[in-house]
């Protein structure tokens, strides 16, 4: 979850929100409350300067008189002077604040409002005068303190709400985005599986996802056209090459009907040759079709055991005729997802090969097993096997080992098996059977 793009997006959006709100609040504070406070400080500063001048030039009595006059004019202002040990001498504050001032003389304190019992905040400046006296000029800052409190509370609430909205909005947007993305993932997964007709859903909202979906769909349309063209070409091969070949075969067959014995035998051999060629063609086309995913729609849940026993049953006679023993066994209830005809084709090719390459009197086995969450088919023979460095090569089309060139076959048998196994997302593994070859095919089980 924390690694998803949307989570990160939500987080950074929330942060940006918070920072911009903070900046806004700072500017607001600086230009309102800050301004009043700065003004207050300026007044306090100039008052102390003026009053200290009065003291210096006219003496302490003048100062006391000035203070009482000033205090009457502006009731917000507080004036006091005292001895250095804070004993009040004169002024309208009637006391000296217990808080000690900063180095520059600034001090904030609460005092009792005359005529009431309420304590209110004040800010003042202490200014030392010659001859062991000090002056305090202060100002009632009750209002601005109230405003500051309201401001702080609003800021807290506002910031909290903003973060909440940012998070909720982020989560909501993430969900939306995630949903579209997972829709895309499902669709593209199906396309990768060979269902080229699948398309991304477009919501006609014109947002980025819509544009992306439209582009991907256009790309898929083109891809489908191309794949269609490739298929068309292979269909054409089927049509253009197989059709005349079949026609040739059929003509020879017809000709053979009325031919004298010697010619007839030759013609029938030609028919058999043509059949072999046609078989090669259909194997090639079959591989192409399997690889293009054409068979995927017919995949279903199938029980593997009957396939094993049917294949063994079908090849038992052939093995016996060659003097081979064909052993078979299969665990019950192995279900996999696939096409039974394709799987049977693969089994049949493997067993056919095993029989073909086994010496007389040898043994061939076809075993179906359940191994954890895999279905395993193991086909073994005791023939010459395949050298380890050829294990990859034999899966290529038309590849044949030198030793097997004299035997009938197209060199496509294992290619077909490989294509079938790949189409079923399985694995085809060769091992040395000492002697002989052990072919292991693994498929995923389904429930």
């Amino acid at each position: 979850m924390t690694r998803t793009t949307t989570f990160r997006l939500t987080l950074s959006y929330s942060l940006i929100f918070a920072v911009s709100l903070g900046l806004l609040a700072f500017y607001f504070y600086w230009s309102t409350i800050g301004l009043v406070l700065r003004e207050t400080d300026e007044i306090l500063y100039s008052e102390t300067q003026v009053l200290s001048e009065v003291y210096r030039k006219r003496g302490i009595d003048w100062l006391a008189k000035s203070l009482s006059v000033r205090a009457k004019v502006n009731r917000k202002m507080l004036y006091q002077f005292s001895t250095l040990d804070n004993r009040p001498l004169s002024g309208n504050l009637r006391m000296w604040p217990s808080v000690s001032p900063s180095e520059e003389g600034w001090v904030e304190f609460d005092y009792m409002l005359p005529g009431t019992e309420d304590y209110v905040p004040a800010r003042g400046r202490v200014y030392p005068l010659p001859d062991g006296v000090q002056l305090l000029v202060a100002r009632n800052i009750e209002e601005i303190t109230q405003i500051k409190k309201v401001f702080n509370r609003s800021l807290q609430v506002g910031l909290g709400l903003t973060m909440l909205f940012a998070l909720v909005g982020g989560i909501f947007m993430s969900r939306r985005v995630l949903r579209r993305v997972s829709e895309f993932t499902v669709s593209t997964g199906q396309i990768v599986d060979g269902r080229l007709g699948e398309r991304l859903t477009s919501r006609e909202t014109g947002d980025e996802f819509d544009v992306l979906a439209r582009h991907v769909n256009e790309m898929l349309d083109r891809l489908e056209t191309l794949v269609g063209a490739v298929r068309h070409v292979s269909d054409n091969i089927a049509h253009d090459l197989r059709t005349p070949l079949t026609r040739l075969r059929n003509r020879i067959e017809t000709a053979a009907l009325g031919a004298p014995d010697l010619v007839k035998r030759e013609l029938e051999a030609s028919v058999a040759d043509a059949d072999e060629l046609l078989r090669t063609f259909s194997s090639l086309l079959k591989i192409a079709r399997i690889e293009s995913g054409s068979y995927k729609p017919s995949f279903e849940r199938i029980d593997f055991a009957p396939l094993i026993f049917d294949a063994a049953d079908l090849y038992q006679g052939l093995a016996h005729e060659k003097g081979l023993v064909l052993m078979t066994d299969c665990d019950p209830i192995i279900f996999i997802h696939g096409d039974r005809n394709l799987l049977f084709q693969a089994l049949s090719n493997l067993v056919d090969n095993a029989i073909k390459y086994s010496p007389e009197g040898g043994a061939v086995s076809l075993i179906g097993r359940r191994d954890g969450d895999h279905a395993e088919v193991i086909v073994t023979d005791v023939g010459n096997g395949i050298p380890e460095n050829e294990w990859e090569n034999v899966l290529e089309r038309f590849s044949r080992l030198d030793q097997s060139r004299s035997l009938p076959g197209s060199g496509l048998g294992l290619s077909v098996v490989n294509a079938v196994v790949k189409a079923h997302e399985g694995q085809l593994i060769f091992e040395d059977n000492n002697p002989g070859l052990k072919a292991v095919v693994k498929f995923s089980l389904v429930r």
């Binding site: 269909d235 089927a238 049509h239 197989r242 059709t243 070949l245 079949t246 026609r247 075969r249 059929n250 067959e253 017809t254 053979a256 029938e268 028919v271 058999a272 059949d275 046609l278 078989r279 259909s282 194997s283 086309l285 079959k286 079709r289 054409s294 068979y295 729609p297 017919s298 049917d310 049953d313 079908l314 090849y315 006679g317 052939l318 016996h320 005729e321 096409d339 039974r340 005809n341 394709l342 049977f344 084709q345 049949s348 090719n349 056919d352 090969n353 073909k356 009938p408 076959g409 197209s410 048998g413």
Partner: protein, 224 residues
């Protein structure tokens, strides 16, 4: 039998027609789907061979139209599209058999023969008989001329299929499809071994051979 062939490729059409005429059928040939559909609905035919891709009206549309009007006439669909899903689509549309182009004529002939035979009322048969070979479908006993023959289950099914289509050529592919129920291309003629085993059980020691090999085509069970 009266057959209708709907095939747009002239040469293939003529080839099918000639072959079926030689096999003793009366054949009408048309090269487009519209005429084909008209003939199929108005004419009196015993079986129709339809190419899948036709001009004007598509082959499968003809099949669906006929089936929609409850016409049960046997239909063989021919097609160059050979994948399993196409085959399934063809059979789902209501075709009785589906043959991938190109095909050996003997394959088509055998399938047409099998379908025409199927139309003949079979009834709930309990006893199949070809010459002096008898198969009791209830007791699952097989005997020839009073002598009991022991068969494996698969051999029994193979013989049953051959006996039900006695006198007709059955191709190896048909045997694989009907007796083993798999559509696949064996690398070797693995069926031959099964047939020759069956032959040794039912024909060995008897004067008249019943199970014949038809060269280039397949097998036929018949008493001549």
């Amino acid at each position: 039998m009266n057959l209708l062939v709907i095939e747009d490729d002239d040469e293939t059409g003529q080839f099918i027609k000639n072959g079926l005429v030689q096999a003793g059928h009366k054949v009408d040939l048309t090269d487009n789907g519209q005429d084909g559909l008209y003939l199929a609905t108005t004419g009196d035919f015993d079986l129709i061979v339809i190419d899948r891709m036709l001009p004007l009206v598509d082959g499968l549309t003809i099949v669906r139209t006929l089936r929609a009007s409850d016409n049960r006439i046997p239909i063989v669909v021919l097609s160059a599209l050979g994948e399993i899903d196409h085959r399934v689509a063809g059979l789902n549309a209501g075709a009785d058999d589906y043959l991938v182009k190109p095909f050996a004529f003997s394959e088509l002939e055998a399938r047409v023969g099998a379908l025409l035979r199927r139309v003949a009322p079979e009834g709930p048969e309990t006893l199949l008989r070809v010459g002096d070979l008898e198969m009791n479908l209830i007791t699952r006993k097989v005997g020839r001329n009073g002598k009991s023959i022991d068969l494996q289950p698969r051999e029994f099914r193979l013989l049953e299929y051959l006996m039900r289509h006695a006198g007709q050529v059955l191709t190896r592919t048909m045997l694989l499809e009907h007796v083993w129920d798999y559509h696949f291309d064996p690398q070797t003629n693995v069926i031959d071994v099964h047939v020759s085993r069956l032959r040794s059980k039912i024909d060995k020691g008897f004067e008249a051979q019943l199970l014949h090999t038809v060269r280039g085509a397949g097998y036929k069970l018949a008493s001549l």
